[in-house]
Structures are given as structure tokens and as C-alpha cells.
Amino acid sequence: MKSAIGAPKSLRFLVMGRYLLLTILSAISVFPIIWLFLSSMKTQVDLLARPPVLFFKPTAQYYIYCLETGFFGSYFVNSLIVALFTTFFSIIIGGLGGYSLARLRFCGDKFMAFLILSFRMLPAVTLVIPMYLLARKFGLVNTKLSLIIAYVAFNLPFVTWMIRNYMDTIPVEVEEAAMTDGASRIYTLMRITLPLSLPGLFSTAIFCFLLSWNEFIFATSLTSSPKAQTFPVAVSGFIGCRGIAWSALAASTCIMLLPPLLFGIFAQRYIIRGFVPGAIK
């Protein structure tokens, strides 16, 4: 397959050059993560040693510490619950809205542009401040519910946009065919459009889950105790400790990065669809 760069790739020199560059870049990409993992297996003394030790006796004590202290159990669960509920509500609300906007051509476009711009332009800070104050007002500070509401609010424009784009790829004709045969719009939606859009919905769900899992600024403002605090906030709590608990920090970060890492490796295709504006397949 000829590439858009042109020139046949039979020149071995070019091929080697490409592989070399890619290898270097990949190393840069992956090295910090590997270093993190190595650091998480070192004892505090090893970590602080100068020169940095390359060969050391690995220890899993910090992982055990993380897993044993009930804290990390609850923080992980909190993150999970918040992410799942956020995804659930975002998909339903965004799904219905996205579908409707996909079919309502003339006003859908303008509204869509407005929505997607607002997502990209709105700084989290601008929403965090009133979210915190309103949570205070309604007694929702330090609850998972407040986080779910905040995340849904912040992600909804984007989710709607993604789903609308998928719905766009489902030809109107298919629906019309069903409706010609006497099916109602709702029935068509459930039985025909929905199954066809499942890959898209799945992509959106993964993206939504990741956004929620990785979120920090809302979580740190709205939650403070094991009751509702999410994992990134708990991990950030290791910083600024007396003597900075580097090893524990590294271990807990590894745990925290595990879901995104797994998603990144195995669900790459789905996540990419959330990046690419427009329905480029």
C-alpha cells in the first residue's frame, strides 16, 4: 500500500531510520511509566539513594500497604461508583439528546456547534466554584452524588456530540424503511437504531468512564473523606507529607493508572473515536 508520503519504501535506509525513530520515541513514551513502576517496588531508602539504584531488592510492601489500609479500598470503590453512574446517566441523557439532534437537521447543527464549543471552552474552574457553593447549599458536600452531578454536567455536551456523530452514520433510510412498514418512531429507535449504534455508544461509554476516572479538580473540591473521595484525590494526598512518602506514592499511582492503561492498550480503537472530530472512521 502506497502511503500518502509518496516514494517507494524500498530504500532500506529509510526503513531503518523509521524504526529507529519510532523506537526512540516509544522509549520516551514508556520510560517514565516504567520508572514509576520500578520506584514503587523500592524501599524508601533505596529511592533516596544516590546514585539511583538500578539493581535492588524489590518489595511489594507498599502495594500491600495500599491494599490493606481500608482507605484505598473505599477510594477505589468511590471512583468506580462515580464513574459508572456518570457514564450511565450521561449516555442515557446524551443518547436521547444526541439522537434527536442528529435527526433534527436545521436547528440541530447550530445547537450542536454551541454545545461542543461550550465543552471545550468552559474552564473547569468556572464550574467548580458554583458547584461547590451549591453543594454546600444543598448539603451535598463530600458526597458521591455531587460528583456525579458535576461530571454529568461537565461531560454532557461532549457525550451528546459523540453520540450525535454516531447517529449520523446510521442512514435515515434504514429508519424510514422501518417506519414505512408501520413501526413507530420509538419502536424504531429501540429495535433498529440502538443496536446499530451500540459500537458508538460503547466508545462513548469508555470515554466517559475515563473522563470520570481521571478527573481531579471537581473531586478535590467536592470530596474530602473516605465517604466520597475518589482515587486521584487520595493519591494526591501523599504529596506534602512529612518526608514525602515517595514509595507509597508511587505504588498508589501505579494502581490508579491501571484502568486507564488497560483501556489504552486494549480499547484504543474506541477511545480514538472520541478524539477525532467528525465521523472519520
Binding site: F88, V141, S224
Partner: protein
């Protein structure tokens, strides 16, 4: 496919709902959440909490460590919202003033009266953290007790006694001797530096403490005088700031990266054998410096007062939040933590004891041979803002001080100009908030 996906989704959702409900419904016990600074304070509380729970089977205690850099933020965030995230909170004098002024904490007088606490056993300067020094404070004129002392400490001069012995030095009695000692033990080629000071231009910086450790012994003045008038610019303070500036820029005895230093970094510098002197909270750092797992200089560290003998005194108390559902039970834990566990936590971690009786405990004397000096310094020492009313603005004043001093040391702002600038900013702030005419 749709069916299977739907079933999966349903299971996951129901599972999470069940999980959430289970967690919530385990409420037959009374839960008390304690928010303390991460480190020896939260570790100490975690150490003794199980014993408390054993003695009180209907109470469950959860200790939440909050890092110092986020402490003010987290606690005020939760207390002001009345969220009940923390039932018991820690606080130092300035934070306590904020809590009390805003009405976020519960007065403890009636609980103290009902119990058999001997308030005379507390070292006065630590006990007074919870009363804002009684009638001296316009925020608490009646002198009500809001918090029991939990941790006390004194800023002392920490030095490497092994290197002193090697070089024939003695603990400095004058500032000239101090400079001499510090420059003698400064060998940058061997990665050894004279003194670790704080330099971070940040809210939790230690610049202010380092500065006042010098200033209080050089006839320096406290930040606010009569009628809240800023008086940072004074001859004594000028001398002190000049010494600070010189240590970094003229004598060059500070390690690289000192600009980033806050509390933890100073300790690390000495613990790793990089710096030979520092001014630090004595007992807090002793816990780290004498721990073979964390420190390379354990057993080699000496503690003495600054030349002049004056020291900055600090400490933390524990208070009960207004939103606490079980104040009586919370007080039980407060008492347990403050009094019953005082010596125990002090022996296990570097917590400064708050009871006079703890200082007489033979185990304590064995572990901290200088404990009599500690009590003396604590009794005579200066609380940073104790001589002026504990204003609810103290947190912002701390920022102005930290930033202003750091500018003189690291941004090349001339000493006199920096101090005058601090006074100016403080006056602006106080006027704006109505504390200054």
C-alpha cells in the same frame, strides 16, 4: 447482543447500588471521623484509635490524614459547608482563630467541667492554643476552651553534633559564632552544606518561622503591634532578614534547591546528611532524624536553642466540629488522644508532649534527654502572633510575610524595602477588612 449488554449493565449497576447501600447502612455504630495532619499526628491517632474502640465498642474512629499543603483548604472547605466530613479537626493557633470566629467548632467547657481533666497539667502555651490565650484575644473574650492540645513543639537549632566534635565546635552562644559554625561546616564539593533554610514562596512555607527564630533573638518585633498596626519594619527585623539573606547569597551555605524548601525538605536535607544545621520544630524532626529507616544521621544530631535563647513555640490542638453528630463521644476521643495517649504517641513518633506529667515520665526522659529544656523553652517561648489578637486574617498575613521575606532572600529585593512592602500590604489588608483604622 443487546440483551446481553443490557443484562451486564444491569448487573454492574445493581452491584454498585448494593455496595453503596451496604456501606451506608452499617450505621448502627457511631462513627467519628478525625481529620489530622498527615504524618506523625495522623499516624499517632491511628496507633491509639483501636484501643479506644476496644474500650468503647459502640464508637468507630476513622482517621483521615490530610497533607499539610492542603490542610487549610480541606478543613475549611468542609467545615464551612457543615458537611460533617470531619467530626474532629486539628488546628494550630491561627487556624483555630478562624474556626472560632466563624463558629465552626463547639465550645468544650461543659465537657471539660463534667470530666476529671486536670487542666493545670497542660503546658500553658499549648493549652492556650485552644482558648486563643484567653482575654488576650478579641475573638474569644470569655476565654472559652475550644480545643484540647494534641501536639506541641518548639523551634530549636538542630546541628550535627558529630561534626561539631570533629571540628572542635560548640553550640553557638552569639550570632557571630553561629555564622562561624555554619560556614565552617560548609563544603559544597562534598555535597555538604552549612544550613537548610526554607525558601518556598508559598503558603505553607517555613520562611516566616526561620526568620522569626532569628528576629526574636535580635530584638526583632512581632508582626502586629498596638491596635493591629503593622510593625514588621524595625531595626531588629532588618538585622534578622539581612542575616537570612546573607546566609543564602553572601556566605552561600545553603543547598541548591533551597528555594523549594518547605518543612519536609529541610528535614530531608539534614536527614540525608546534606545540611549540617537547620531551625526546626524540635520534636517533630527528631522523630524523623532519629529513625534509622529514614535518616542517615540518626544519633548524630544535637538540639539547642538559638543564640539568645528565645524560640518560636507552636502546636496543634484538636477541636470538635459544629456539625459533629456525637459531640459527647467525640470529646471522649479528644480526651483520650490529648491526655491518655500523650506520652505513648510521643514515644512512638516525634510528637511533642503537652502534659507536664509526660515530661517527668522516665521513658520520655530516656528518649528525649533534653525534655526539660523543651518544657522550659515552651513555657517561655513566643507564640508567633500571641502578642497580638488572633485575627481571622492570620492566614493571609502569613502569606504576606512568607512571600515578602522570600522575595528579599531570593528575588534580590533589598531588605529594608522588603520589610516596608510587607507593612504596606498588611496595612492594606487590615484596613480592607476593617481591623485597622
Amino acid at each position: 447482543m443487546k440483551g446481553k449488554l443490557g443484562v451486564c449493565l444491569a448487573i454492574v449497576l445493581i452491584g454498585s447500588l448494593v455496595l453503596g447501600t451496604v456501606v451506608v447502612s452499617a450505621q448502627t455504630v457511631k462513627r467519628i471521623t478525625v481529620g489530622l495532619e498527615a504524618g506523625f499526628m495522623s499516624d499517632g491517632a491511628s496507633l491509639v484509635a483501636p484501643d479506644f474502640e476496644k474500650a468503647h465498642p459502640d464508637i468507630k474512629v476513622t482517621v483521615v490524614p490530610i497533607p499539610y499543603t492542603a490542610f487549610r483548604q480541606k478543613v475549611i472547605q468542609e467545615l464551612s459547608a457543615g458537611s460533617g466530613a470531619y467530626d474532629i479537626v486539628g488546628g494550630y493557633l491561627e487556624l483555630n482563630a478562624s474556626y472560632i470566629a466563624a463558629g465552626w467548632v463547639v465550645p468544650l467547657d461543659k465537657y471539660v467541667a463534667e470530666s476529671d481533666i486536670d487542666t493545670n497539667d497542660f503546658i500553658p502555651s499549648f493549652y492556650n492554643l485552644g482558648t486563643l490565650f484567653g482575654r488576650a484575644s478579641q475573638l474569644n473574650p470569655a476565654g472559652d476552651v475550644y480545643g484540647l492540645p494534641f501536639n506541641g513543639d518548639v523551634m530549636m537549632l538542630i546541628f550535627r553534633k558529630d561534626l561539631y566534635a570533629l571540628n572542635g565546635l560548640t553550640p553557638p552562644g552569639t550570632w557571630e559564632e553561629f555564622v562561624k559554625n555554619v560556614t565552617k561546616l560548609n563544603q559544597p564539593k562534598d555535597d555538604l552544606y552549612g544550613m537548610a533554610v526554607s525558601g518556598a514562596r508559598a503558603n505553607d512555607s517555613h520562611v516566616m518561622f526561620d526568620f522569626y527564630s532569628f528576629a526574636l533573638n535580635m530584638d526583632g518585633t512581632l508582626p502586629l503591634g498596638e491596635g493591629n498596626k503593622p510593625q514588621v519594619y524595625s531595626p531588629g527585623n532588618v538585622r534578622a532578614l539581612q542575616l537570612y539573606v546573607d546566609l543564602v547569597n553572601k556566605y552561600k551555605v545553603t543547598p541548591p534547591g533551597v528555594r523549594e524548601y518547605r518543612y519536609a525538605e529541610k528535614n530531608a536535607a539534614v536527614a540525608q546528611g546534606k545540611a549540617t544545621h537547620m531551625v526546626q520544630w524540635m520534636l517533630a524532626c527528631a522523630g524523623e532524624l532519629e529513625d534509622p529507616d529514614q535518616s542517615r544521621v540518626h544519633g548524630k544530631v544535637g538540639y539547642t536553642t538559638m543564640p539568645g535563647g528565645g524560640s518560636v513555640v507552636g502546636g496543634w490542638s484538636i477541636l470538635i466540629a459544629d456539625a459533629c453528630k456525637y459531640p459527647k463521644e467525640a470529646f471522649e476521643f479528644l480526651k483520650f488522644l490529648s491526655i491518655d495517649s500523650d506520652a505513648r504517641i510521643s514515644l512512638a513518633y516525634g510528637k511533642g508532649p503537652v502534659l507536664k506529667s509526660s515530661a517527668q515520665d522516665p521513658e520520655m526522659i530516656k528518649k528525649y534527654p533534653y525534655i526539660a529544656d523543651y518544657v522550659k523553652a515552651a513555657t517561655n517561648g513566643m507564640h508567633m502572633c500571641a502578642c497580638s489578637p488572633a485575627l481571622p486574617l492570620w492566614l493571609e498575613i502569613t502569606d504576606i510575610l512568607n512571600f515578602g521575606f522570600a522575595d528579599a532572600v531570593f528575588e534580590g529585593v533589598p531588605v529594608e524595602e522588603a520589610l516596608k512592602h510587607i507593612d504596606k500590604k498588611m496595612a492594606e489588608l487590615l484596613k480592607e477588612e476593617g481591623f485597622l483604622e
